[in-house]
Symmetry: C2
Subunit: 126 residues, 2 copies
């Protein structure tokens, strides 16, 4: 199933980003084994949450974001990535719209243990 | 172990690329669960090989590369990615030096089933 959803051609991240405008609504663009690559557009503050069973990667494609941790904030600019360890509470923020590539296992819900209105539908492909 | 090797701060891909010049010698820059993110510099032709147990992702950070498959070639430019399915024979090529982020499980050897002199030492962190 996963392989069938991967494109036969190169996946162009900018072209995929142009296919949607909703914020905080990750779109899957590729899958490697059980790991999905999701593009997300962010602006404003997300919600504090954690993922009990997995690490999570953010790689900024455009703009600038902040990953708030309980003891510090990590600023990520274009071409920078960060691994949020499993179980660690975090919040994502962006003053202006920021585009990032999220890498995490398929099935991970964006709001983790927090739930709420920002919870996006999962496994939506761009 | 894996988390301990991840930086407390953002990983800047350009800065990591500036720390080495060897080609075909991937350097790990981050690990998410059992999945490693490796930067590689390529120029010329690699060797035909496959990875029996895992898919493999290439995301071009700078320049242009080609992933040769037995039935076609896939061209990847900056900001483009491709998933090579497990077991599929492939060769990477770059006319001019190209920099890419490889995403694959820890322990995967760069030359896969082919071996040979281009086989790089594994798990070397930048």
């Amino acid at each position: 199933m996963s392989q069938a959803r991967n494109a036969d051609d190169a996946v162009n991240l900018s072209a995929k980003l142009a296919t949607f405008s909703e914020r905080w609504s990750p779109r899957v663009v590729a899958q490697m084994n059980d790991v999905q690559f999701k593009l997300v557009k962010m602006q404003g503050d997300f919600v504090w949450h954690s993922h009990e069973h997995t690490d999570e990667v953010f790689l900024v494609v455009k703009g600038e974001m902040e990953i708030g941790l309980r003891d510090r904030d990590v600023v990520l600019r274009e071409g920078e990535m960060f691994v949020i360890p499993r179980g660690v509470e975090h919040i994502t923020r962006a003053r202006e719209e920021c585009h990032a590539l999220i890498v995490e296992p398929a099935g991970v819900v964006n709001t983790g243990d927090a739930g709420g209105e920002l919870t996006a539908r999962n496994d939506v492909w761009a």
